[in-house]
């Protein structure tokens, strides 16, 4: 399951590739003090008491009351993402996300900032491969106002040419900041296009400057009419609220919204298996240390292999003691950073192993070292203490996320849009805890070691 970066009006991209500074991960096969740790009581997590409804117009509503937070998270997740960008309009879903903060029938530009930030709340939004999410948190007494406003922009967005032009400039600035100014931005931006051969996932969610410049106001109107409709949306409310009043308000503001008769277009492309290994080179003008990335195709998020891949990711990359960090960064000192990620989307996935070279290191040796570590995990001995460590890490991370209304709403939204059911937020945690070493070894063997890959060298050179 991808791990999102959400920034203000940002987009979830490259989530599995944290900046080198915080890189992760392991190798210790030391059973030493494990006994004390293993004796700890298992961590348990109470399931979320979700309330679920579906309105007659198709809107899905999930809510979760939380005591004494003083705030409430109000989020609307739409089943539309980068994969739905129109042809020749890569980056459009994300550009559109920015426009949702402009005027509506009854709201002036930036009214959402008045309704959130100006009363002590916050708003944000992100666009990912499969989804676009709008996320607000406000003092609990402002809940009704946010429901009104989200219904208003779902149904009555009004974008004019001036707003469109100005926001397109902002999005292009965002693209340059993420892709061009970041020394490794070009590498990570190139991965989807190299990993996928047919599915629209091959276009980066941020898109291209040329495609963004080609977009028109007509595209905006068409996109809103096509995808922003009650039966394509999930409303999530988490925090300090009265359930009966919430239901009344949801009926009042969202109930009257009409659902168009036309069906919602869905991407039907099936990603084929890769037939042969490939090599690729990507260059940037300011690459302080070269890097290598290996990418494979992965299964969709709902595939039974997904939990084992997520555990493999944690064994290889989660924390200082994770295998790739211990072997490449700590012991061999051949890499400045190294990681493995399983980015599993709704229709297909992308598995990647990568390393940023330490000064003076050769990329071929780094590639071999990455593959050796993957093989060692797939075929060597994995101690119980190591798998236990990863289970504890994953569960602790889930608990951390559940401390806030926004964190809980995120967990619900990801489960609903990628796994098809909000209750999967709890179920996937249970599945993660049940993953065995043999499962991890089987999926790595089949999907990585015996699968075809693309090897990408990233080096200094060329201009922009």
């Amino acid at each position: 399951m991808p791990h999102l970066i959400t920034r203000r009006r940002g987009l979830a991209l490259l989530g599995a590739f944290p900046l080198p500074a915080h890189l992760p991960a392991w190798a210790a096969r030391r059973p030493a003090t494990a006994a004390a740790v293993a004796a700890m009581p298992p961590v348990s997590l109470a399931p979320m008491a979700l309330r679920q409804r579906r309105l007659a117009n198709g809107l899905q509503v999930v809510s979760l009351p939380m005591q004494a937070t003083g705030t409430v998270s109000v989020q609307v997740w739409y089943h539309v993402g980068g994969k739905d960008d129109p042809a020749g309009r890569s980056g459009f879903a994300h550009l559109f996300e920015h426009l949702m903060f402009k005027r509506t029938r009854h709201m002036p530009d930036e009214m959402f900032d008045r309704l959130t930030e100006d009363v002590g709340g916050q708003n944000n939004a992100f666009t990912a491969e499969d989804m676009t999410a709008y996320q607000n948190e406000v003092p609990a007494n402002h809940l009704e106002r946010l429901l009104w406003a989200e219904a208003e922009r779902l149904a009555h967005l009004q974008v004019d040419q001036a707003n469109f032009d100005s926001e397109r400039k902002v999005v292009i600035e965002e693209l340059r900041e993420r892709v061009l100014a970041d020394p490794y931005g070009r590498l990570f931006n190139a991965l989807p296009g190299l990993a996928f051969e047919a599915h629209p996932y091959r276009r980066p969610v941020i898109g291209s400057e040329a495609d963004l410049n080609a977009a028109t106001l007509d595209d905006v109107r068409r996109f809103h009419a096509t995808y922003y409709r009650p039966d394509n949306a999930l409303l999530i409310v988490v925090g300090d609220f009265d359930a009966a009043r919430l239901d009344t308000w949801v009926d009042r503001y969202f109930g009257p919204l009409a659902t168009p008769a036309a069906p919602i277009p869905r991407v039907q492309v099936a990603e084929p298996a890769r037939l042969r290994d490939q090599q690729a080179r990507v260059q940037g003008p300011n690459v302080p240390l070269p890097a290598v990335a290996l990418v494979w195709k992965g299964p969709p998020a709902s595939h039974p292999d997904a939990p084992a891949l997520e555990v493999a990711q944690a064994l290889l990359s989660a924390g200082e003691s994770a295998r790739l960090n211990q072997a490449l960064v700590y012991t061999a000192r051949s890499a400045q950073a190294a990681g493995f990620s399983a980015d599993l989307y709704a229709d297909a996935g992308l598995l990647a192993a990568y390393a940023i070279a330490a000064s003076g290191q050769d990329l071929r040796r780094l590639e071999t070292a990455l593959l050796d570590e993957l093989a060692r995990l797939a075929r060597g001995r994995v101690g119980l203490d190591e798998i236990d460590k990863v289970r504890t890490q994953l569960l602790t991370a889930a608990l951390l996320q559940r401390q806030t209304p926004q964190g809980l709403a995120n967990a619900i939204g990801m489960a609903a849009l990628q796994l098809g059911d909000p209750r999967e937020a709890d179920a996937r945690l249970a599945r993660l805890q049940a993953v065995r070493v043999a499962d991890v070894q089987r999926v790595l063997e089949q999907r990585v070691l015996k699968a075809r890959r693309v090897t990408i060298d990233y080096t200094q050179g060329g201009a922009a």
């Binding site: 900032d113 930030e117 002590g120 709340g121 100005s166 600035e173 302080p288 330490a358 890490q393 951390l400």
Partner: protein
């Protein structure tokens, strides 16, 4: 449940909603009037009114001091089985010995790289594995006036986590091999950051604004090369002593349990004889050049950064300064982002920060933009900062920015880690626990006239310092202003007071 424990304990349960504190609807914000909204129907063509505000509860914090001077703060938070632990040392890079920049940061890097545990040395790999088996990274960092070791674990692992943190802080191995490794990695990290315009701009701005004083120094490759194990051991021996350390525990733990745990694992730590040392510090001594330009050929964007004077840690008008800064840079809708992003689309966003440190403070703002737009963004940032002295915020604008500050503070208190960070920061700044309860009321008491007065006193054009880092060949001549210092990246030397590499 803790009444009998300690007379120093402060109960901070303040129902802020009752007073002016969180009563934001009382500030005229509950029913924002829209243009042309006369006769509008709430809930139909304008937002429905807000409900009555709820009270925000500040956490209860119990505090006591162990006999060795170590301060223990415990904030119980029932609910999820999580505890955040912070071991904090009141010393940071400002205490680096002269010519030894980077000692505090490198020491913090080495803390998790080995410690004596139960009478035997435990190396970096095993230590990381022990921490992560408890579910948490062992986070070590050093910032101005504060070094921290932090973990967040499930409650059953609290004792084991504190035992580990205490060993790491009290008995680090500080091994030569680990220093070499950490130094090599730090040098590579520096190389990475020197390819990034915003990283370079941030460093240049610090050097320009603070000048050649302890808070103006940054760790450079040459400085890292100079550091020896003896420097780190010296820093550890001088500054890491129980009377300069605090333990903060937040989450699923009672004050009783927290105090007992602290006594058991930290109570036998003896402070060295003699009073704790005092760091020699100096107020900012800005560079003469109001603008430093650094040419980074091939950079994807330019970064424009501006610094302005800010208050010192103990200044009486600190919260006025915080509110004044918020009018400019406190959130998406604040003035700087309005003029740069919202009105003109020149940048993805303006980021603002403040630091109120012992000898003085710095407020800063920075934005990335296309090279050709850098002069315009620089003019806009400078113009908005100085304009505040003539254009104080209106009542609605001020109330909105105050609400943003209060809301952000409230959200930090939502998580165990957020609250633990707030408490450690307050302790490091020498503020009593009661100061936390004053925070929101004092922010909300600031008036437009006070903001204007603050801006007049601190934010004149001559007091600003700026840096632009990017591909200057694509920027044009508009930045060639009198007094500007222009350097190619290869000429930049952050160890030199004048920033230029000696020829």
């Amino acid at each position: 449940m803790t009444q009998a424990i300690d007379p120093r304990r402060r109960a901070l349960a303040l129902a802020l909603g009752a007073g002016p504190a969180i009563g934001l609807s009382g500030l005229g914000l509950s029913g924002i009037a829209l243009p042309g909204s006369a006769g509008a129907v709430p809930g139909v063509d304008e937002p429905p009114p807000a409900q009555p505000p709820r009270a925000l509860q500040l956490p209860e914090v119990a505090e006591r001091q162990l006999d060795n001077g170590l301060v223990v703060q415990v904030a119980p938070r029932p609910g999820l089985p999580l505890v955040s632990l912070v071991l904090a040392v009141r010393a940071g890079p400002e205490a680096d010995p002269p010519g030894r920049n980077g000692a505090a940061e490198l020491l913090a890097t080495l803390w998790p790289k080995g410690a004596q545990r139960g009478g035997r040395p435990v190396g970096a790999a095993e230590l990381a594995r022990q921490a992560e088996a408890l579910g948490s990274p062992l986070d070590a960092r050093s910032s101005w006036g504060l070094g921290t070791l932090t973990m967040t674990v499930t409650s059953a692992r609290t004792d084991a986590a504190l035992a580990l943190l205490a060993d790491v802080l009290r008995r680090p191995l500080l091994a030569a091999g680990e220093l070499d490794r950490a130094r090599a990695q730090a040098l590579d990290t520096l190389r990475l950051s020197l390819g990034s315009p915003d990283e370079v701009a941030g460093r240049v701005l610090r050097r320009s604004f603070w000048g050649d004083v302890p808070h103006g120094r940054v760790a450079t490759p040459a400085a890292l090369q100079r550091l020896a194990l003896a420097d780190l051991r010296g820093f550890q021996a001088t500054w890491v002593r129980p009377d300069r350390v605090a333990l903060v525990l937040v989450g699923d733990i009672t004050p009783d349990a927290g105090f007992q745990l602290a006594q058991r694992l930290l109570g036998d730590w003896r402070a060295p004889a003699g009073a704790p040392p005092v760091a020699v510090m100096a107020p900012p001594r800005p560079l003469d050049h109001p603008l430093v330009l650094v040419d980074l050929p091939g950079a994807g964007q330019s970064c424009v950064a501006v610094a302005a004077p800010f208050v010192a840690q103990a200044a009486a008008d600190r919260r006025t300064g915080v509110v004044a800064h918020a009018v400019l840079a406190g959130g998406y809708s604040a003035r700087l982002n309005q003029v740069v992003r919202i009105k003109r689309g020149l940048s993805y966003g303006v980021a603002g920060t403040t630091e109120a440190l012992a000898p003085g403070g710095m407020a800063s703002a920075q934005a990335q933009t296309a090279h050709a737009n850098a002069p315009q963004v620089l003019a806009l940032l400078r113009g908005e900062i100085t304009r505040l002295a003539d254009a104080p915020p209106g009542a609605d604008e001020l109330a909105a920015r105050q609400a943003t500050l209060v809301g952000g503070f409230g959200r930090r208190l939502q998580t165990t880690g957020g609250l633990a960070g707030v408490l450690a920061g307050q302790w490091a700044a020498g503020r009593p626990l009661a100061d936390l309860a004053d925070h929101v009321p004092q922010l909300l008491a600031v008036t437009p006239a006070q903001v204007q007065d603050f801006a007049r006193r601190h934010w004149s054009a001559g007091a600003l310092r700026a840096a632009v880092v990017g591909d200057l060949s694509a920027t044009g001549d508009a930045l060639a202003e009198p007094g500007a210092l222009r350097l190619r990246m290869a000429e930049l030397d952050l160890d030199e007071p004048a920033l230029r590499k000696p020829r």
